[in-house]
Subunit: 300 residues, 2 copies
Amino acid sequence: MDKIGFVGLGIMGKPMAKNLLKAGFDVIFYARRPEVIKEAEEAGGKAVGSSKAVAEATDIIVTCVTADPEVREVILGENGVLEGASEGDLIVDMSTISPLTIREIAETVALKGVHVMDAPISGGEPGAIAGTLTIMAGGDKADFERCQGIFKAMGKEENLFNVGPIGVGQTVKIVNQYMAAINISAIVEGFTIGIQAGADPEVMHEVISVSTANSFGLQQRGKDYILKDFFEPGFMLDLMKKDVGIGVDLAKALNVPAPLGGPTYQLFAIASRLGAGKLDFSAVCKAMEHLSGIKIGKAG
Amino acid sequence: MDKIGFVGLGIMGKPMAKNLLKAGFDVIFYARRPEVIKEAEEAGGKAVGSSKAVAEATDIIVTCVTADPEVREVILGENGVLEGASEGDLIVDMSTISPLTIREIAETVALKGVHVMDAPISGGEPGAIAGTLTIMAGGDKADFERCQGIFKAMGKEENLFNVGPIGVGQTVKIVNQYMAAINISAIVEGFTIGIQAGADPEVMHEVISVSTANSFGLQQRGKDYILKDFFEPGFMLDLMKKDVGIGVDLAKALNVPAPLGGPTYQLFAIASRLGAGKLDFSAVCKAMEHLSGIKIGKAG
């Protein structure tokens, strides 16, 4: 079976690498934390000493790290993937970063004949563990075909999308995050006004759930998170803040007006300053609570 | 069968009054346009010469007009409902207006022993015709019980809600409209950024439909309206602008911060200035297109 390189065995990457192993791939990986190395080796993976060494040993290298600087570092940095890669190799970056960053990286590595596909994911830790992620891949059709086996091992077959050329995977992912962040902020803002005007938040949730403002966010984060004042992630607020920030920066770089993204980002920044960064992103309600003095949820 | 008064046989009110007639109620109504009077009389209704005359002839008077000034006028104005009403009568206002306005009206008419219930509706013209509206009623439980028969004639039995005391019906309705308006604006803003970054709007729609930013708005107004550049209402943009405006004013009156409602209202105001006021509210995309020069939908 093919050898697959893997760099970035974090909350998402570790279960994804394990699913590659389960599907029968040989996984050569680079990780720093000893407990992660131990766990991935016990699952059948083979640790090497650098991202460069991963690339030397494999032709398809998956990277799944936190943000733009980390992706630059593991691909273009010292002892990075590019140093070990050879012509025809394919880097599949599954982090969520700016489409502009991955396009720039793709141009750089192309000078050595190395291909890049941006393939951000959706579905969170549960989806990574279950191997049911949605994958939004940007890049050549041929590279997408080359990834079918590994994508099927990590994602849900009907939710593997080749959404366009390089960078478009990130674009679609960021647009989704951007809209989801505005939606949850709208829920929080609407509830706050409604409460002050005398409405019960549980009743608002019930009625709006069968009305035109219903949303995935209201169903997934309304009742069991915001109304219960319960914010165990889920998807961390600081990561959502990062993603909305990428969207706002992207709009700025492309000179597109973004009237709602700006204030939405500010709400996430306020919530993060209040210490909610490691909570679920629906804890953005803490920003509105702080700004208004009006409490939305009730614990217990 | 009970006699029911009806004032305001517009796009929503006319089919609602007809459904009352179909359910066997005697409907005494006041309307100005001859063709409306003719149609409602042919359906079995009885026209009288003023809102006052409607109230004189009935104990339960439904009002369903455009906005706050019209509700004030038909209830408190010269030859209005209050002049003809007697102690124990119940005014059921099904317009969408500010909760503060209906509370003020309720206080005024209470001096004469007249009750008020605010019972705004959701479901649009199709729901009004089919008799499947959602009704969010604010007011006393006893008054809500008194309205069961007429609500069942106009609405869907499982979607008739007594959401709280007077004004809370409007509150829940306005919060729903406010969130829905922000959601559609988020869709439009996200699509605009995504298109400029190279993504195809059809692909974004497909992927986001199975991701965390999915919403009722995306499903109802994404593919068949915004992407097709088709804006036959549906629900008119100027009415959505009015509703978001009520939400923004309500937040202001209650001293609640409203970071997203403000810019959302501006987008609807811009779209209205561009001549989209009589189109479906999803034509708010015309505001973003005008601001950015980026076209989202393709006709045909």
